[in-house]
Symmetry: C2
Subunit: 395 residues, 2 copies
């Protein structure tokens, strides 16, 4: 297609990072490569047969409205199911405060739209979720990064950030964070809520992995401690299937009002047929039984990865010990370059994501994200063994 | 849910119109009301059985990737099918220049994101499509409205707008426009392309109804005359079903690059399962046969509406003569108020949309949108008869 000479684009697209991971995945696509680079749920665990039965049942009824335009908020019985699931975790959520979105990613776009003026401060964990960095970047916030410790976000830095920078949002993943796999301790959650209380700030709690816990006890949501200032993001991508792009936001009334206007302008509503399909599946099958299968598999795979790291890697390499989710985080000795390790590793047919895209403003980092959801235990052991060889070369 | 005291929202949400039609539809929901207010395709014509068979076939295969995350651009074979359909209309489109979106509404959001800086001029037809006004409003453009005539956009005003206002986009619906039902003549299309050629401007041609032609000859797309400056928006909402939110944008390479970044940040990709389902349906069934059924039904209904108007309405009321699509536009005598007519009409159990939301800055208008896709011929005659009684009362 020919190009016109003088296209002028909006400023907002300047500086929005392209997906680095997308580029990485192109390299990692060869079948000889053992890839810890992806961020996909394991497709072997998708409930394909159950979804097929649900689709047949749904489409055998006489309700042709399953294929019609629908309301912006989402299918009410589905929102009621989501509220029920929160109730089992001790959170009282009114279904009217739930908006169905295209994955939780769209929640980030809508929140960026309704909250962020250019230059507004926004707290991000460091390292932080790449998709959130991308979504928010479009609205040109001032990112205020707060480091993660093994117990969650660094409390002193968080307190300072709130006091000095007046952020409108703090974007946090307290359970099995992407990319680090770290979970906030109960005390850390309380402390974050305590610091935030009464400030003109919302805690945006993104929780795509919360249900995928294979070890330890469930911790409380920020919503438990500070409901009036917490916005929850959720998704069926990791518990049912990702293809559906079925997620949701929970927000207070005044925020919901704006979110609905923004959602309507963005795409009217989320795929209504798929909303009905997910509802049918949740009605006819025991999703908790299904989630238990996922936890069992990912738990074994995470265990195999940690065991192999313990066995093969030199002691100076640190790694997180995830209790759930899909990722583990390596920290190489000071001064080592993760990109260099990646280039060597790919030659030995093993891939991971160098930490770079998870930082806002760092060119050289010594950290790496390893995914364990998509490889079996033998592949994991072999991949870590290969990586240990590369680490030895790197010196 | 309790509210926090001091929520401060982004400026961009100020002045974004709420859906007026949404409010109208709440009034029109009672079963005694004959409603010409909606904008829905007729659900009796949805290919439910065919889609069920397609879903069963799709899910009986062994490809579990139909439920996995997918690429941002969309399923390539589906984009190839869309390109094929353009080829039948004489337009050579590379599938790589097609991005799958959540209905064409999302195309508007993405175009607003990548093109509109605050205060940038944007040409809109007057009356114009409400959903586009909403989507673009978020990015605070300066709307430059150009009136529609029976032959399409007013050429002299369009030429002036381009010369004086330097717009980055002109948003146009040349076929069976929403709300007016007007189609641009071939000469008017050529003229618009001629005026735009070489200017730093894209024509955004939204064509949700183009295939639903029940009378007259197909006209050429702006893309035929000015491919390098035309962006096409398309959708399966009116030809297959709306619930799927399955649309697309066709754009030149440089624009596609930005659209992909914006789409990825917005929601990663459109529901991949539904993309595969639509592809399966298009592969196994003759969509042109199906579209012919829709055209036949809507054509009969539009005919019934025009005939009833001719028979019942006073001569001073003007109306458009749509050759396709779903809408017809009434113009009351000068000085009459469409909102007043609406209030009286609803008491007589007949509803329509007063023209107001289709103008950017007009409080009182004498125009009305009537939908004919969702009522049968008897309902249409009875609805128009009731409306004629109300018109007599209005004086």
């Amino acid at each position: 297609m020919k190009e016109t000479a003088s296209i002028s684009f909006a400023h907002r697209m300047e500086g929005v990072p392209r997906s680095f991971i997308r580029e990485i995945l192109k390299v990692a696509i060869s079948p000889e490569v053992i890839s810890f680079a992806g961020g996909l749920p394991n497709k072997k665990l998708f409930p394909l047969e159950e979804l097929q039965a649900s689709a047949v049942k749904l489409m055998s009824g006489s309700d042709r409205n399953i294929l019609q335009y629908a309301n912006t908020e989402g299918y009410l019985p589905l929102r009621e199911k989501i509220a029920e699931r929160y109730a089992h975790k001790g959170l009282q959520i009114n279904p009217q405060n739930i908006l169905i979105t295209n994955g939780s990613q769209q929640g980030l776009d809508l929140l960026g739209k309704i909250f962020i003026n250019e230059g507004d401060a926004l707290v991000m964990e460091e390292p932080g979720y790449l998709g959130a960095i991308q979504a928010f970047s479009i609205f040109h916030p001032r990112f205020v990064t707060v480091p993660l410790t093994d117990e969650g976000i660094d409390v002193d830095c968080f307190r300072q950030a709130i006091a000095n920078e007046n952020p409108c949002l703090a974007y946090l993943i307290p359970n099995f964070q992407n990319p680090s796999g770290i979970s906030y301790t109960e005390e850390r959650r309380k402390e974050v809520a305590r610091i935030s209380k009464g400030k003109p700030l919302f805690l945006v709690e993104d929780d795509p992995y919360g249900d995928i816990r294979f070890q330890g006890e469930r911790k409380n949501s920020f919503y438990h401690y500070l409901p009036e200032q917490t916005i929850l993001l959720g998704t069926f991508s990791k518990t049912v299937v990702p293809a559906f792009r079925m997620g949701w936001i929970v927000a207070p009334d005044a925020v919901m009002d704006r979110l609905i206007v923004a959602k309507q302008a963005a795409d009217l509503h989320t795929d209504y047929f798929t909303q009905r399909l997910v509802y049918q599946y949740l009605s006819d099958y025991d999703i908790d039984w299904h989630i238990a299968q996922i936890c069992e598999a990912y738990g074994r795979q995470a265990g195999a990865m940690m065991q192999a790291i313990e066995h093969y890697f030199p002691k100076e390499i640190q790694y997180t010990h995830p209790e759930g989710g899909m990722f583990l985080w390596l920290t190489l000795p000071e001064g080592r370059n993760a990109m260099e390790l990646f280039d060597l590793a790919i030659k030995e047919n093993v891939a991971f994501v160098p930490g770079n895209p998870f930082y806002i403003d760092k060119a050289e980092v010594n950290t790496c994200r390893l995914n364990f959801s998509c490889s079996d235990e033998m592949e994991i052991e072999e991949g870590i063994r290969r990586l240990s060889g590369v680490l030895a070369t790197l010196g």
